[in-house]
Symmetry: C2
Subunit: 143 residues, 2 copies
Amino acid sequence: MHSPDRGAIVELSRAEIDSFLRQQRIARLGCHLDGLTYVVPVIYAFDGASIFVVTTEGQKVSMMRSSPRVCVEVDEYDTSGSWRSVIAYGDYEELEGNDVEEALAALRDAFGRAAPAEPRGLGPGVVVFRIRLDELTGRSVAR
Amino acid sequence: MHSPDRGAIVELSRAEIDSFLRQQRIARLGCHLDGLTYVVPVIYAFDGASIFVVTTEGQKVSMMRSSPRVCVEVDEYDTSGSWRSVIAYGDYEELEGNDVEEALAALRDAFGRAAPAEPRGLGPGVVVFRIRLDELTGRSVAR
């Protein structure tokens, strides 16, 4: 463990990034198509390699199908002014079949009953996707 | 005031969006250049028209100077699963002179002593910018 100076920016190790991504619940996805950059919050689960998201058809899914390279940002601030953030990149992959079941299992592990229990119970327009994170950086400041 | 169904997505009015942006502190900026989409958290103040940010030279400033159209996302989740989010767009404007003083005044109004008191006290590499928000949408879900 390091004992950073108060206020100094510290790079997170890969283990610290993994732990942070497992602990957090909300990521902001950034995607881009035809001159429009779009940032949208999603509830996710992280299995150590990918984030998994259940969502519905809409602007972000439409954009990511056409332009799959996305940015994933997760942060945490506290009232003292300390913060941590992770910025990562990966490609949008829409899931089907067994992959959907694995994604829902990851979400159930993270959230318990809040995740849909049965893929066949997913309604029309529901989309399950994965973003395998292939570049990850993290920073923190302690105050 | 509306009394939405629990779990239904409700569009926020412009007044609700303004109030939310004044109350929150962290925005995620999304910018894009040469195939790279970048999302980064910033601490901001909102004056009813623009967000103001003090930062330092780096990736986001470099990208926004070349590609000024950005997305600004602000959200709040609570432990019950209720959430609000605002997604807005605007153009990056780097500030100088009196505009810097106005931006710092907006940040002092929002944060008190946490904002730099004197523009001439800003160190080398410090950048103050505004994003005038020209498209704003907001949504909430109550659970």
